[in-house]
């Protein structure tokens, strides 16, 4: 080997590297985009812009700006606002049919939105048994276009979710999707082909359309020139969009995104800011914080199919021992609200504040004493009771079931820290609290997929800490969580709660078309659940978001934060 050549190559390479490094240093100053394009920081990129596959948070945020439904929730929450529809649906009680008139609106390719598109979307969902959508279309007997702008739905039976969910289905363009659906239908696995279709240029009716997408780096959206809402006032908001476009920058780590916000590299960070940064941001005069409630619930669940969890007294004692305040103040650093029912308080219309509460406002000693009384009354005994003869709280040991057999160690399953550190940590704390009174709990993290399979499919578990980060505003989930019909593999009644009274209420609520009646029923269901306590609701995180004060104003706060369609349609450049 000739050393001379090696030496030269080495020098050349080192030189090149040094040069690149210097150049890199010089390139520090980034050129700005046009002023009226908002730069938004996101943590992850959308996984796909194929509407039917886009079921994760980050994809949904983008597709929601492109595709639109007939009705949307107003920024205040429950009320439904006609969006692509011209007015409220007309009910024909005799035929059990609804008629919806469409607004004159255009797709982003310039063609008209017609009733045919709406009908096509419904048929697509029904034909392909579209995941996440098909259940809200199953009871639709027929959907027809009466004329270019009128759609009529025939229902098999009255269903409350028709108004609150079916009419909120995003509409796709027949012109774009028909060929895709046709080619998929011929395939062996039609749904798979449809889901795998790569949507490069999604055509929608929304305020924005895709301009370009550089994988892993940014998604660039431009204002849709054909957006119907421009210069119209809907729900009291004069719609724009007044911005020319938006660029979603993918950061990957929250640190980078928060820093970019503080340095002014982004105008808005579309995610909840971690507690560690909040103090710094509060002191930053350039950044404004918005705190909003969320529609989510995190809870401790029991397996009611086995002892001791089949004993409501045991569940109540556990609920009394769990300090929600501790979890919220320390683990979530105050960025959450206490949950006493399974419907989030932010869902004002359906939330029932009058439900039984456990251990609310008690300190540790009171918790132990209360839980001890509950258990003692139910026949549980101890070798060393957690409350001694003189009424002092001590470390309990050797708890026995009412039947006299010792309580064997059981596990609390939690997701791992990489998936959700809060739940993993909450599980740890609950373990400690239970152990303090002698209940042998063991918190065990498990990879998320495995954990869900254990709980939902195999039902081989004791307790678990889980959560739903995005609950729909319609409380239909209560039925899914606790109806005995859902106590089957892949069903959402993970606890195995079976109560005929509850089933009756749940079925009734499902068919109640009158919101006021439904509300009554939902309230009763919440109270019943909190009485029987198959789940102990823990917390509901708050959404804390930051924007640059000197860039855009007019943000619309709503349940879930300021990153909603309303905001992006009305924010204006600060002059």
């Amino acid at each position: 080997m000739a050393a001379g050549v090696g030496e030269k190559i080495r020098r050349a390479l080192l030189g090149a590297a040094a040069a690149l490094l210097c150049l890199g240093l010089a390139a520090g100053a980034a050129r700005a985009l046009s002023d009226d394009i908002i730069r938004v920081g996101v943590l992850e990129e959308p996984k796909s812009l194929n509407l039917w596959l886009a079921n994760d948070t980050w994809s949904q945020r983008v597709v929601d700006l492109i595709y639109e439904p007939l009705y949307v929730h107003g920024p205040k929450g429950q009320e439904l606002v006609p969006w692509l529809a011209a007015g409220p649906p007309q009910f024909d009680a005799a035929q059990l049919a609804y008629t919806v008139k469409l607004r004159p609106a255009k797709w982003s390719d310039g063609s008209d939105l017609t009733a045919q598109d709406v009908v096509f979307t419904g048929k697509l969902i029904q034909d392909f048994q579209m995941p996440l959508h098909s259940s809200k279309w199953k009871f639709i007997k027929k959907v027809e276009a009466l004329d270019k702008h009128t759609v009529r739905y025939w229902l098999q039976k009255p269903k409350a979710i028709f108004l609150s969910r079916t009419l909120l289905t995003p509409i796709v363009q027949k012109k774009q999707w028909e060929p895709i659906a046709k080619s998929a239908q011929g395939a062996q696995k039609p749904l798979q082909v449809l889901l795998r279709h790569k949507m490069d240029k999604p055509v929608g009716t929304g305020p924005f359309m895709l301009a370009s997408w550089k994988r892993g780096v940014f998604v660039y959206l431009l204002r849709n020139p054909h957006f119907f809402g421009r210069n119209q006032t809907i729900a009291g908001y004069p719609l724009g969009p007044y911005i020319k476009g938006m660029i979603l920058k993918v950061f990957g780590t929250a640190d980078a995104a928060v820093l970019a916000l503080r340095k002014g590299e982004i105008d808005y960070y579309w995610n909840s800011i971690q507690p560690g940064y909040i103090q710094q941001i509060k002191d930053d005069p350039e950044v404004k914080l918005f705190v909003n409630k969320k529609s989510a619930v995190y809870f401790l669940g029991f397996n009611l199919r086995k002892a001791p969890f089949n004993d409501v007294n045991f569940r109540r004692a556990v609920a009394t021992l769990v300090s929600k305040e501790f979890i919220i103040q320390r683990i979530l650093q105050g960025e959450a609200e206490v949950m006493h029912s399974l419907v989030p308080p932010g869902n004002e219309f359906y939330y029932n504040p009058q439900v039984p509460r456990y251990g609310d406002g008690l300190d540790w000693n009171q918790r132990v004493q209360t839980a001890y009384q509950i258990l003692k009354k139910a026949g549980y005994t101890w070798q060393v009771p957690p409350v001694n003869a003189s009424g002092e709280v001590v470390k309990g040991q050797g708890i026995r079931l009412p039947g006299g057999q010792p309580l064997a160690e059981f596990t609390i399953l939690t997701p791992p820290a990489d998936y959700d550190p809060h739940r993993a940590m909450s599980g740890q704390m609950i373990q400690e609290w239970l152990r303090a009174v002698g209940i042998p709990a063991l918190s065990r993290p498990m990879s998320f997929g495995a954990m869900v399979q254990r709980i939902k499919d195999q039902r081989d578990f004791d307790c678990f800490v889980l959560g739903y980060a995005k609950l729909s505003l319609d409380p239909g989930y209560l039925r899914a969580f606790f109806h005995s019909a859902m106590d089957r593999p892949r069903g959402y009644n993970m606890s195995g709660y079976r109560n005929p009274d509850f089933d009756r209420l749940a079925d009734e609520s499902e068919n109640a078309m009158d919101p006021a009646v439904r509300r009554q029923l939902i309230h009763k269901m919440q109270a019943m659940i909190m009485q029987d306590l198959p789940y102990v609701p823990l917390y509901n995180p708050l959404v804390v978001e930051g924007v640059r004060k000197n860039r855009f104003s007019g943000w619309v706060p709503s349940l879930g934060g300021i990153g909603n369609e309303w905001s992006f349609c009305v924010i204006k450049l600060v002059k």
Binding site: M1, A27, K214, G449, R490
Partner: protein
């Protein structure tokens, strides 16, 4: 020589096939499927079943296995559950980024390690030697993600010299006026910190190997001969001793590749570098089997091939070894 290479190649193929099968079995045994991650009360049990069936996960296990082998043989690797795109496409988008970061780091580290190792050996026991040895011991044993975080904290947060994460700035890539050169500079700018992390972790091991190998070489007769001939110290060092001392370094590059790949995944994760290592960590936590399988297989193939190349290179460089 040819026969040796062929034999080793065959071994590599057999091992890869084994890994492929083990991966298949592992992923089928594992609890949890891509649908179980989708915890949404709007997804009814019927829909979930239908989705599983459509994904081909209800076929008999042999059909699935054959399908799987067919996919790999055709270089397609199936479809990613998460992205709904061909795995090959996802990988090809990420791979160049990893290769770029990685090869630059390994080459830089090897070059610096070799030349400094040479110096350390030459000045054995003196100030330079002690300084270099200690420096490489310390940097080599630093905990990689921590070093990465530290570099970000100092050079990106406090000094603001470099971007915190990522590979390119959108502003430059969206601006039609920035040409190829501008983009190159932008990538280089983003690459400095991850590169520095990998470089710091790796150069020490090359330095130490080069140093000890050089010390062995310096004892050989031909060095004494060169000295006797009255050649300059520099010439002896660079032209006689160093080329022979390279061999162990070559081996150590091959052997440490697995270690480097671990480090690569950590580096990419901290810096959000859109590479294959980060993608694999991501795929693993998303239950995206096809993507995780393919990226792991790719990594295994690269490692095995690199070891083969090292062996061959070793044989080629060292005239004493003949196969």
């Amino acid at each position: 020589m040819r026969k040796f290479i062929l034999k080793r190649l065959l071994q590599v193929v057999v091992i890869l096939f084994l890994i492929l099968t083990i991966l298949f079995v592992l992923f089928r045994l594992a609890p949890g499927d891509p649908v179980s991650r989708l915890v949404d009360p709007n997804l009814t049990p019927e829909e979930a079943d239908h989705l599983i069936e459509q994904m081909g996960l209800k076929e008999p296990i042999w059909t699935q296995y054959l399908m799987y082998l067919k996919n790999f043989a055709s270089g397609e690797f199936g479809y990613s559950f998460h992205y709904g795109e061909p795995v090959a496409k996802v990988i090809w988008e990420r791979l160049p980024n990893t290769v770029m970061l990685f090869t630059t780091a390994v080459i830089l580290a090897a070059l610096v390690g070799i030349s400094w190792g040479k110096i350390a050996a030459w000045k054995k026991g003196r100030f330079q030697d002690i300084l270099l040895t200690i420096a490489s011991l310390v940097t080599h044993t630093l905990f990689l993600p921590w070093l990465a975080l530290l570099l970000v904290w100092v050079f990106a947060y406090h000094m603001e010299w470099f971007p915190i994460t990522g590979m390119i700035s959108d502003e430059i890539w969206l601006d039609p006026s920035s040409g190829f050169f501008g983009k190159l500079v932008d990538v280089a700018h983003h690459m400095v910190l991850p590169l520095a992390t990998l470089f710091l972790i790796h150069f020490g091991s090359y330095l130490l190997v080069m140093r000890s190998s050089m010390l062995e070489t310096l004892k050989e007769d031909y060095i004494l001969l060169a000295r006797a001939k009255g050649l300059s110290e520099r010439a002896i060092r660079n032209q006689h001793a160093a080329p022979n001392a390279w061999l162990p370094v070559v081996t150590s590059v091959g052997l440490s590749l697995a270690f480097s790949i671990n480090g690569g995944a950590l580096t990419e994760t901290v810096f959000s570098w859109p590479g294959i290592g980060r993608e694999m960590v991501f795929a693993v936590s998303n239950n995206d089997y096809p993507l995780a399988q393919a990226s792991f297989l790719l990594i295994a193939a690269v490692v095995l091939m690199a070891n083969l190349v090292v062996d061959v290179l070793y044989a080629y460089l060292d005239p004493r070894i003949r196969y």
